[in-house]
């Protein structure tokens, strides 16, 4: 049946409507999607996308030997973001169960509310985190964060400092170098939904975070470990209230170790200050060294002349000056060796107030060392205008002046390096994320504080203090220590006088005396019953010096033998076995038994050469480099020299008969002959080195 005309017409009319509709819709879509599209797209992007900061990993901190002192580890933190009343209830119940809170307390404790972000616990270990991940109800979530980790625990914690939970440095180096360490946070695009949830699923970094710079400290953690151990033992042995000290490399001003030990400290993991720069004290007799420096420089000392020391009590205008022991006539050398207050005071009166003040200022007292550490104390020294003779006498023997440990150490370093006051350095260099070394410190001489010749005389006198003076207990057969003891009364700030039986016992010095490398100071506050610096701080100093020397055989090559013959042995050290001529397998066994490691050219054959040589001391897990070859004219293969010291590497090259060309200093970073290549004589190997 054909459609009637009316049906066709009417259906045609409706069809026209349908077609018209499609045209309108297409037109509208073109309007919306082509003409309005660009504007709408921007608006959509604005409402659905955002950016969040991607935290930048904090830089690593190394000690001067490349040991990692502070690094980052991942940690999880738990937070609540309940979206409904039900979720609040579930979340609260889960938290109560998880952390064993009494029922019904979690909600109030954490202030759980609908659509409110609340931290529940930060820093959750992995086991708990995975448990939470699988079992947590909606509304409770984990966030990945990085946490600062200190592999050496409390060692050097005061100087290293710590960070808050958000990774900002709070104290110590972490605070001092916070801008260097923290890097620049990146920016990531995230998607947001209409319910203000964030979707990190499509996270793409627009700006990658710039990792913070790593720092290489001048501190030597081996020394730091020894130092803290000895200091703690010393404080406990001598019943001191506080012990502190600093060791510096007197040639460069690099701080090698610094610490304090306070038995009553509440939170040793959260040290608030670095006492060695923040705490001031009256130095007492160790200050006589600086008085002596001034006298020597002014040429006021006649070594043949003697001074009467008043048999231990000298009445002055405003008071009496006492000696610990009664001394008669003494020459200048003996005055310092025996630490006669009266003798020094008499000499100081020759020098006069102005000169004495000037000398003290020259050595940096009363001025900040600009370490940048928080709350650094610059000490105090009064202007000479109002001084009486008694004040001059007091100052010359280290009273009426306040100093901090670092100042004393730098002062002794200046004497030890024959007269140059150096700026103390804590940071050796920084390394950016590309591995490039930046901001390497430069040895900075603040000023010359005394003539070289006067320094030489003073060093000899200070050696005498240890050999036949107040510090005979410090005398070591292993290493020639020079220094000065100090036993100073502690001011009682409340009663404005000195405590009768409370003393700061100190020893400051340097070693080895003939060519000083390390200068340092140890101060014990109020040790009992022995309060003499030469009997308390002195022995601590001696132990540290000896142990440090064992650790750095290269530095103290000549003293090494003496120690070994004395049979002194350091815990954790191993005597290098003689591997020469042994088969590789056997050599490997010996080395393993001793807890050392081998680095070898190849792993079969006979050991032809080794470094270090037999009978030297090494730390456990240190490496011995050996050259192995079959006895039948086997070619020598280039070992991996990277990471070795120049001394080690060049010793090998010398053995292999290869010429060396060294660029830079420090540890080998690159070698021109690749490891594994066969070496022919007359090759030249270029070593690129970098300091660490």
């Amino acid at each position: 049946m054909k459609r009637t005309r009316q049906e066709r017409l009417r259906f045609g009319f409706l069809s026209f409507g349908v077609v018209l509709f499609f045209f309108i819709v297409v037109g509208r879509l073109i309007h919306l999607q082509i003409f309005l599209g660009p504007v709408y797209q921007k608006q959509v992007i604005k409402q659905s996308r955002g950016s969040i900061k991607i935290p930048a990993p904090r830089g690593t901190i190394y000690d001067r030997n490349g040991r990692i002192l502070a690094s980052n580890v991942k940690q999880y933190s738990l937070y609540a973001y309940p979206k409904s009343e039900d979720q609040i209830k579930e979340t609260a119940a889960y938290i109560e169960e998880l952390f064993h809170y009494p029922k019904g307390t979690a909600r109030k404790k954490f202030g759980l509310r609908e659509k409110k972000f609340r931290w529940i616990k930060r820093g959750i270990d992995d086991a708990l985190a995975s448990k939470i991940e699988s079992g947590a109800p909606n509304g409770l979530y984990l966030r990945k964060e990085t946490k600062r980790e200190y592999p050496f625990g409390l060692i050097g914690k005061q100087i290293l400092g710590f960070t808050d939970i958000d990774g900002h440095g709070i104290s110590g180096i972490e605070r001092l170098c916070d801008t260097l360490l923290s890097g620049k946070p990146g920016v990531a695009d995230i998607r947001r939904d209409g319910k203000h949830n964030l979707y990190p699923v499509n996270e793409t970094a627009v700006k990658k975070p710039v990792t913070g710079k790593s720092l290489v400290l001048t501190l030597d953690w081996r020394l730091q470990e020894i130092f803290e151990e000895e200091l703690r033992d010393g404080v406990e042995k001598y019943n001191a209230e506080l012990g502190m000290g600093v060791f510096v490399d007197c040639r460069t001003g690099e701080v090698l170790a610094m610490a304090h030990y306070d038995p009553s400290e509440q939170r040793p993991d959260r040290p608030a200050k670095v006492c060695t720069v923040t705490d001031q004290f009256e130095p007492g007799s160790i200050f006589k060294v600086f008085t002596a420096a001034g006298l020597l420089d002014e040429g006021l000392v006649d070594f043949s002349d003697s001074t009467f020391c008043e048999n231990g009590c000298w009445k002055m205008d405003r008071g009496k000056l006492h000696d610990d022991k009664k001394h008669g006539w003494l020459n200048f050398r003996r005055i310092i060796e025996l630490s006669s207050n009266i003798g020094v005071a008499k000499y100081a009166s020759k020098l006069g107030g102005d000169k004495l003040y000037e000398t003290a200022r020259r050595f940096g007292f009363g001025q900040s060392m600009n370490t940048g550490l928080a709350r650094e104390n610059r000490g105090s020294i009064y202007c000479p205008e109002k001084w009486s003779d008694y004040t001059i006498a007091s100052l010359s023997i280290g009273h009426a002046v306040a100093v901090n440990c670092l100042q004393v150490a730098m002062g002794f370093a200046a004497v030890a390096n024959r007269g140059e006051l150096l700026k103390p350095q804590l940071v050796y260099c920084s390394i950016d994320d590309q591995g490039d070394i930046r901001d390497t410190f430069k040895r900075t001489v603040i000023r010359r504080v005394m003539k070289e010749s006067s320094a030489d005389s003073l060093i000899a006198i200070l050696r005498g203090v240890v050999q036949q003076g107040t510090a005979t207990k410090v005398d070591s057969k292993a290493v020639a220590i020079a220094g000065k003891t100090g036993t100073a009364e502690i001011p009682d700030l409340v009663n404005k006088c000195y405590f009768k039986n409370k003393f700061n016992a100190s020893f400051a010095g340097f070693f080895p005396a003939d060519d000083p490398i390390v200068a340092g100071v140890i101060v014990l506050k109020a040790p009992e019953p022995i309060h003499y610096g030469g009997h308390t701080s002195g022995p601590i100093f001696k132990n540290i010096a000896e142990r440090y020397m064992i650790l750095n055989p290269d530095m103290f090559a000549s003293e090494q033998r003496v120690l070994q013959q004395q049979g002194l042995k350091q815990t954790g050290t191993v005597i290098v076995p003689d591997l020469l001529g042994k088969r590789f397998e056997y050599a490997n066994k010996i080395v393993e038994e001793r807890g050392l490691e081998l680095r070898t050219t190849k792993d079969s054959g006979t050991v032809l050469w080794q470094y270090p040589s037999p009978d030297r001391l090494l730390f456990e897990n240190d490496e011995i480099l050996i050259a192995v070859a079959e006895m039948t004219e086997d070619p020598i293969i280039m070992p991996d020299l990277r990471g070795l010291s120049i001394r080690q590497a060049s010793a090998f090259l010398h053995f292999a008969g290869i010429k060396e060309r060294v660029q830079g200093s420090g540890l080998v970073r690159r070698q021109s002959i690749a490891p594994g290549k066969i070496i022919t004589k007359n090759n030249e190997c270029r070593l690129e080195c970098r300091p660490i």
Binding site: M1, R3, Q6, E7, R8, R10, F11, L14, S15, V18, F21, F22, I24, V25, V26, R28, L29, I30, L32, Q33, I34, L36, G37, P38, V39, Y40, Q41, Q43, V44, I45, Q47, S48, R49, R191, R192, D193, G194, K195, N197, Y199
Partner: protein, 370 residues
Amino acid sequence: MVRKTTRRSHSKKRVDERLLGAYIAIIALGLITVYSTSSMMAENKFGSHTFFFRNQFIWALLSLAVIWAITKIDLTRWAVYSAPAFIFILGLLAMVFLMDSRNGSHRWLMLGPFTIQPSELFKSVMIYYLAFSLSNHEHNASDLKQLLLKYFPLLGTGMLLILLEPDLGTTIVIFITAVAIFFLAGTRVKYLVTSAIPVGIVASILVFGLGYKRARVMDYIHSLGDPLQGSYQSAQAALTLGAGRIFGTGLGDGSQKLFFLPYPHTDFIFAAVGEEVGLLGLLFLLSVFFYILKRGRIIAMKQPDRFGFLLASGMTLSLFINIAVNIGVVTSLLPVTGLPLPFISYGGSSLLISSVAIGVLLNLSRRVAR
């Protein structure tokens, strides 16, 4: 006359394969777009990104089975039962008010685990009934007495019940569909225009006098100038479409479905899809719709009898009106009303009812001599 054509209609002619192909294509498109627009929400709400997709897939399979069944039955033989069925549906519409309301309206009838919308059934059965009734008594369509005493009360009651649910959108769709069928059946235009007058008056009083959905209408009026000035929903829909531009963000990559655009997988799926596939993708989707409607028209025009013509064109037009209202709302051409986009939107009953329309068209295509 109907009896006479029954024999012929039962010949072993094959269904219109082009329509079937287009139908399967659009169902597939629907499944893809449902997955793409709902997976995030499904993950968020149900912990499974395929939650909506799976349901829709099952409904699609069910729809295919229903279509197959419909092509096998003799529509002319069953047409006599359309009048009682229509009355029965009216009863169901009344029963809806005994049910608990959901989202503030009584649209659903819960039968154990199943929920049905009698208004959807009403639409299909109405078309069937009108096709039967208007073809059986050819002059009914132009007989004012019949119109006033029979069709007006019947249809009016149904539409009033649906309006009271309240479901204005469906009421309008049904009203337009009914008017279109009467128009095709030969009712004088004068009568149809006249019928629109009371509806217009009632609507104006409702909207402007009593404030019913007044805000929505005002939003619509604002949105005519600038789509962003309309309601939140239509503004977001316009933004979503605009953000897609010509090529779209890519399937699954739209950001507006993440709770910015309301109902991204149901009523506003056209916008959500538009963001992901862009203008080009939407033109493709529209052309598939257009092709289906075109096949519907061809089938209707070639029907051997008036019943088939009215039924086929009624089904085609009702599909069109659903599509037109939905897309009109999404593109801010019409005021916001909650209607799904046939075949594409998530939702079992919508898919099933739309598929029934296709099934009827396929059934009728078998009667066409080719």
